[in-house]
Symmetry: C2
Subunit: 444 residues, 2 copies
């Protein structure tokens, strides 16, 4: 769960330089520059930091100073911070909170981090449906200012705490004072179950383009509110995770400079080793064609060209499909629709590369006599292999994300390097088989 | 500029199935199912569609029906829609708007799509700093309800329309009625210049975690408001563009299924052809080592393995750096810091692969006697090449995004396939040179 202080317009003016430099400072410098700030600016800075940075800062501060800092945070932000604290120090940090907030924070910690329940703010503004608008406004004014400050909506709950409707403050303002809340509130509510995954929550925001959703339990009792600002972080985080997986790394889960070299190597070595071991199959495959290579060394020259074309076209296809899936543009049931499109794309792209390939070989032959008497057959071998390999790469790249999603894995794991490795081995076999057919009796 | 109707909680309940199915329907079915909906549901659906879909729908409707639909939109959304209409039909569509909105829309169309000016809503709620809170609330109630509906903030402007402060409706509600607006308004404002690029605007939201920023001109005159909901779309769009470029395609700029096969091939063929032509250098490079390959065919067997390892490690490095740059975690001036880290990572990863590579060759030799008498020297050649190629791939992959940004290009163009192609040629040269040194007098 990202750290999201309640968004509020222009209430905090942070020394931007310090905020930007923060990730570059060593911990001692951070504490020092933090303590050098006047209190209001230090508060601005603290509220703008990520939960991870807040936790680090808090632990570095002298114990007596910690209370006033953690009490600046709304319950969902305090819960985020606590999650960044080592298990054995959490009790101590929790004891700094006031009773109401501690209860809220403990409630939030019981939710999975990636659930709607883990994302929501448990504080919101309540009204009763049968209040008049005037009473509601007076009632809002009486509620603790920080609570009124958090949202722009009031939720109308019945005596069983079940959600009946919602009304924005601006609508209250625009209504006649004698109207009842239930006359001006919205009752067609889209609610979010507390266990909904954050990616699904983010798609709900994208579909309905609303500013906030109430979170309810199975009995429609109101538990909290998820707001758009939580979702911006989710969208950013999910994109980062996907991008990192698509590049063939484990998701880093932290900013680049925050990861020690040892951890960085660990995050990267896993996939790299798996890909490497997969790629050793190319040595095995080429071993089967050792005799052909010995007889026609010219064939070896085009191996990298042919197989990399399969990898590149596969990388394009897998990237487009993974992203389209993440955006909800392409669903599991669309696989047949996708395969037909990608077949045509792959064929078209393969033909384009084949033409360039033939031109390149004929040109070099004319200029340097580089490829011997049977150069034209070699050119044809390369060209037909390119069509086959690009088509194959495109199909593998586009179908692998479907396969992964089908078996419940993350489609983003169908990284460009993964697809390239899969396609390399088959590309080699295709190329040498094509050569055997076309060059039989001539070069081979 | 994305289509962003004002977010409002639960005021629109769209038949979700229809919304989800929309992209799969042929245009005639869209019109038919749209016209079959009761008016309120049809309005919900219309407001939930993207600007592109709204424009398509509007053009398909009979001319007399169009006016009532386009008038549902706020000026920034109407401007988005107009941008999706062919140039020669725009006047006709603009003539459907009321005069005030048309003026706003024309003003917005003058901004670049990706500017703060192109993103902002030109309508917002004004108050005067010297009004009392009570007067301000009464004044807000008198303003057109749709305008009050759009935002949760009132902007305090002086007689020259210069921005003096901002106050949220909830703060007005919480204030005593006799206080002056200037006593409760915030004056420490972060404003956005109208020409600021949308990516910078999105970083401003990420840094300050505010819900809205006022957009001002050089004289600090208020021009409009950019809100968080505009930014969610920007974040999503920018990630999509980056992901597509990183996969080695031009950015699609439209959902996957909306792009015709011809256009799809065009978007992909450009980079694929460039990479292919770059990759033909591998054939040239291998041509220089034809004699060595003829003498020691065993060397050819490991070519794909060695060069793909460089490509994979380069792909990891470039992906991590591009994303870290996009998130603002890594800046241009950090290049030296990055190079030192990546040197260590590359060296570590290279050593890991070298160990696996030696083990693989020794194992196959023990099992199948696959690699001849000089198998150990071959294993060493592969191992040292792997260290060199992985280190090189990592450095190229991590530095290329810096180079691209330095020359003003998009770092995301340093796609995995691009880095792999760069590294393939140099990897080959490194491998065969290593072989010449280590195998001289033995195999070569």
């Amino acid at each position: 769960m990202p750290s999201v202080p309640e968004p509020e317009i222009a209430e905090r003016l942070v020394p931007e330089d310090l905020l930007e430099a923060w990730s570059l400072l060593v911990p001692e410098d951070r504490i020092e520059s933090f303590q050098a700030l006047p209190r209001p600016e230090a508060e601005d800075l603290f509220l703008s930091l990520s939960a991870r940075d807040q936790a680090e800062l808090l632990r570095a501060l002298p114990a007596p100073e910690r209370r006033s800092w953690i009490r600046l945070l709304a319950p969902d932000d305090a819960a985020d911070l606590v999650q960044e604290i080592p298990q054995d120090e959490r009790e101590e940090i929790l004891s700094l909170l006031d009773d109401a907030t501690r209860k809220d924070v403990n409630g939030l910690l019981a939710y999975a981090e990636d659930d709607a329940g883990g994302l929501m703010n448990p504080r919101y503004v309540r009204v009763r449906p049968d209040m008049s608008v005037d009473e509601a406004i007076t009632y809002l004014r009486r509620q603790a200012p920080e609570r009124v400050g958090a949202f722009h909506y009031a939720y109308a709950l019945d005596p069983e705490q079940r959600l009946r409707g919602v009304v924005s403050f601006r609508r209250l303002l625009a209504a006649r004072p004698e109207q009842r809340v239930q006359e001006v509130m919205q009752t067609d509510l889209i609610t979010v179950p507390e266990a909904m995954d954050q990616e699904d929550v983010s798609r709900l925001f994208a579909t309905y383009r609303l500013a906030a959703f109430p979170v309810v339990d199975a009995e429609r009792r109101m538990k909290g509110v998820v707001t758009l600002d939580d979702i911006v972080d989710v969208v950013r985080e999910e994109a980062t995770e996907d991008i990192q997986k698509m590049g063939g790394t484990a998701a880093l889960d932290a900013p680049y400079f925050r990861i020690g070299i040892g951890d960085m190597i660990k995050k990267r070595a896993g996939w790299l080793a798996v890909l490497f071991i997969g790629e050793t199959l190319t040595a095995t495959a080429m071993g089967y064609f050792e005799a052909e290579i010995a007889r026609a060394v010219v064939l070896a020259l085009f191996v990298p060209l042919v197989i990399s074309s399969g990898g590149n076209s596969g990388s394009q296809a897998t990237t487009l499909i993974i992203r389209a899936m993440a955006l909800g543009e392409v669903k599991l049931r669309d696989w047949w629709h996708v395969i037909r499109r990608e077949f045509l794309s792959g064929l078209g792209l393969g033909c384009i590369l084949a033409v360039i390939g033939i031109a390149r070989i004929l040109l070099w032959q004319a200029l340097f006599h580089a490829y011997g008497t049977h150069y034209f057959l070699v050119a044809l071998t390369v060209a037909f292999s390119l069509i086959g390999v690009v088509l194959w790469g495109t199909l593998v790249g586009s179908m692998l994300p479907f396969l992964l999603r089908r078996i419940g894995a993350d489609p983003a794991s169908a990284s460009a390097p993964f697809v390239a490795t899969l396609v390399d081995v088959t590309g080699l076999i295709l190329y040498f088989t094509m050569a055997k057919v076309l060059l039989a009796g001539k070069l081979l």
